[in-house]
């Protein structure tokens, strides 16, 4: 009897705490669900993608996006650079085209930006390939309103010596090779921002919080479901607890 009770309690414990256990394996927390993939833009040579976004948590650690690499033709580096609003380069991440299967979701990882929450960033994605015949293509979504990627007082340039893409003040437009921003006044890149999980229990509490929040949002179901569970717990306790204490089998 007691062995059965122990096994049952173990089973219920596993069921209830499995999400918490698995949460320890979640190293990167997404800022959002990836939006739909509606159109693409070719990225190569002078053609770069720029996307401003607002970080929703601290420890911004990766940007993920879906990339087409037809026939795996592009074997050059694809670079993501993260800038603050005044054009300071904060992070850079490189993935070689050989590691970009056609249409796959690629995460560009970098060291966490600790105080990223509620800050605006500019993400620039470009390819070191100059071959128009083998560009990578970035997916865009029509889920969000059309918006400008580069503000009027800034330009995107290529620094010839370091081969880095820079965001400069428009006053410096003559000092650099201006790049063409695809979809500058158009759709949003279909990306996902990721944040490092630095807390031991933070993710677990977020997960249970999300679950309880959505349960409560369907309040009628929550009440009926909780009532059913409670009735079963009380009823089965009424049957089994006296037996457990009397050591009956």
């Amino acid at each position: 009897m007691k062995k059965g009770a122990t096994l049952f309690v173990l089973a219920v414990t596993i069921v209830i705490f499995l999400p918490a256990l698995l949460s320890f394996a979640i190293k990167l927390i997404p800022g959002r669900v990836q939006p739909s993939l509606n159109s693409t833009e070719k990225i190569y040579g002078k053609y770069v993608a720029v996307e401003p976004f607002l970080a929703t948590r601290d420890n911004l650690s990766a940007i993920g996006t879906s990339i087409k690499n037809p026939n795996l033709k592009n074997i050059d580096d694809v670079v993501i650079s993260v800038y603050d609003q005044v054009g300071n380069l904060l992070r850079e991440s490189i993935v070689n085209g050989r590691n970009i299967p056609d249409g796959d979701f690629i995460k560009f990882k970098f060291d966490p930006i600790k105080d990223s929450k509620n800050r605006m960033f500019n993400v620039i994605l470009y390819s070191r390939s100059v071959d128009a015949a083998s560009p990578v293509e970035i997916f865009y979504t029509d889920q969000y309103p059309i918006s400008k990627k580069v503000v009027d007082n800034q330009i995107i340039c290529l620094d010839e010596s370091s081969k880095q893409v820079l965001i400069l003040d428009i006053a410096n437009k003559d000092s650099c090779n201006k790049l063409n921003v695809v979809n500058n006044n158009g759709f949003t890149m279909s990306y996902v921002d990721f944040y490092a999980n630095t807390g031991v229990f933070g993710v677990a509490s977020d997960i249970y919080g999300q679950m309880i929040g959505r349960l409560l949002a369907d309040f009628t179901f929550f009440v009926i479901y909780s009532f059913l569970v409670l009735i079963l717990v009380i009823w089965s306790s009424y049957i089994y607890l006296p037996k457990l204490f009397s050591q009956e089998d």
Binding site: F8, V12, P19, L232, S236
Partner: protein, 419 residues
């Protein structure tokens, strides 16, 4: 004494239902939405789901074919009609949502709970049917506990949303009727089970061999095939029905593993051991009321051993395992039977682990998406293993072990019944 036994059974049922209630709303396998999306067209008056899906494919958000036989469609569609006041107005938009974030939609927990409710009912019913195989109360109680608390059926039905519980109920009923010499009812259950999914037809040769004389054998064949054909008849001329059901899943996987013997001819590996078993039964006339469940068990375990099986298929054999294990719990072979029980547990555990290694994220952590979408970001066991070893080789090793254990288990059972 009666009151105490009744209270015991009630307690077992209550705990079993409680455990299932804690799982039902929180695990999502995409299949439950796909086949319920397809079944929802019954409310709109669609009789032939196969041709409807083929004609409307371009405009539907979910493009899969309906791979089950017609009774599954009518059962699920009919249940949705009954449950529609409880499912609410958001249910159809949930079904039509083909996006990744569908499990984030408010109402998901309610829909998953309600859609799995028929499975709960059938699950408990199967438990009661299994108790009817035994006379002693101790065995009845053990059988009920083993069925209701084994992790395999709980995971397969409520985590993987296994619609196979419907034909499983009928195959267990078929076995019960056969053991009570009600062959017509037994054959009818096989036919009806086959109208949900094809696999119950695997037991038809066994039932045929079990029947005593030519008249009974012909009756079994006529009732089983007749009832099945009666239900399938309106769909047999539909090309999409043939494509979706007759040439997919179990039928094709049985024909895939072959040994090429030249001149465009091949030996079908999975069919050999099944035919060996049936030939053995015919030769020795060894099938009888006492051991019928062994042959139901053996056919399925042979099949799993030699084909690439879907995880949901494992549910088919669990009731027969429970019956065999409980039968072996008493008597002179008890100690050997304990080792048998360990081996069968290992075998089923291996069987469950093999599909977890498939390169399919919906088989593992993504099942917890209703709790949080973040779980879909976790690496699958396939990804983890591929960092250190070839996951396909590992699958092959596990499947080989599984097949080896099954051969021994079947041999042991056949040998035991001859002693």
């Amino acid at each position: 004494m009666n009151v105490s036994f009744g209270k015991n059974i009630l307690g077992i049922i209550l705990l079993a239902v409680l455990l299932r209630l804690l799982i039902m709303p929180f695990y999502f396998h995409p299949d439950i939405k796909t086949y319920n999306f397809q079944a929802s067209f019954l409310q709109s008056g669609v009789f032939n789901i196969y041709s409807y899906l083929a004609e409307e494919k371009a405009r539907l958000p979910l493009k899969e074919e309906f791979v089950y036989f017609p009774l599954t469609y009518y059962f699920l569609g009919g249940y949705q009609v009954i449950a529609s006041p409880l499912l609410g107005s958001g249910f159809h938009s949930w079904l039509y949502n083909a996006g990744v974030s569908v499990t984030d939609q408010i109402g998901t927990f309610r829909y998953l709970f309600l859609l799995k409710l028929p499975y709960l009912f059938l699950d408990i019913l199967v438990g009661f049917i299994i108790t009817l195989f035994f006379i002693e109360r101790k065995q009845k109680k053990l059988a009920l506990k083993l069925w209701l608390f084994n992790p395999f059926s709980i995971i397969l039905i409520y985590v993987y949303s296994n619609v196979d519980i419907m034909p499983v109920t009928l195959t267990v009923l078929s076995l019960l009727f056969a053991k009570n010499n009600k062959l017509v009812l037994s054959a009818l259950c096989i036919g009806l089970g086959g109208a949900f999914k094809a696999y119950p037809l695997l037991f038809l040769p066994i039932l045929f061999l079990y029947a005593n004389n030519i008249k009974e054998k012909l009756t079994v064949l006529t009732v089983a095939c007749g009832s099945l054909l009666l239900i399938l008849a309106p769909f047999l001329t539909t090309e999409s029905f043939k494509q979706s059901t007759l040439v997919s899943g179990l039928t094709t996987r049985m024909l895939l593993p072959v040994i090429n013997i030249g001149f465009n001819e091949a030996i079908l590996i999975s069919i050999i051991p099944v035919m060996v078993l049936l030939s053995y039964v015919f030769l020795k006339q060894s099938i009888n009321t006492k051991n019928l469940e062994i042959y139901f068990f053996a056919v399925l375990m042979i099949l799993y051993s030699f084909i690439h099986f879907h995880i949901q298929w494992l549910l088919w054999v669990v009731p027969f395992v429970v019956i065999i294990v409980v039968k072996g719990s008493e008597g002179i072979f008890s100690e050997e039977n304990k080792r048998f029980n360990i081996l069968i547990f290992l075998s089923l555990s291996l069987a469950l682990s093999i599909p977890l290694l498939y390169n399919d994220s919906s088989m593992t952590f993504s099942l917890l998406r209703p709790i949080s979408l973040w779980f879909s970001l976790l690496f699958t066991p396939f990804n983890i293993v591929s960092r250190i070893y070839d996951p396909y080789v590992l699958q092959s090793i596990l499947h080989t072990l599984f097949a080896s254990f099954n051969i021994v288990l079947i041999w042991h059972l056949l040998r035991k019944q001859e002693l």
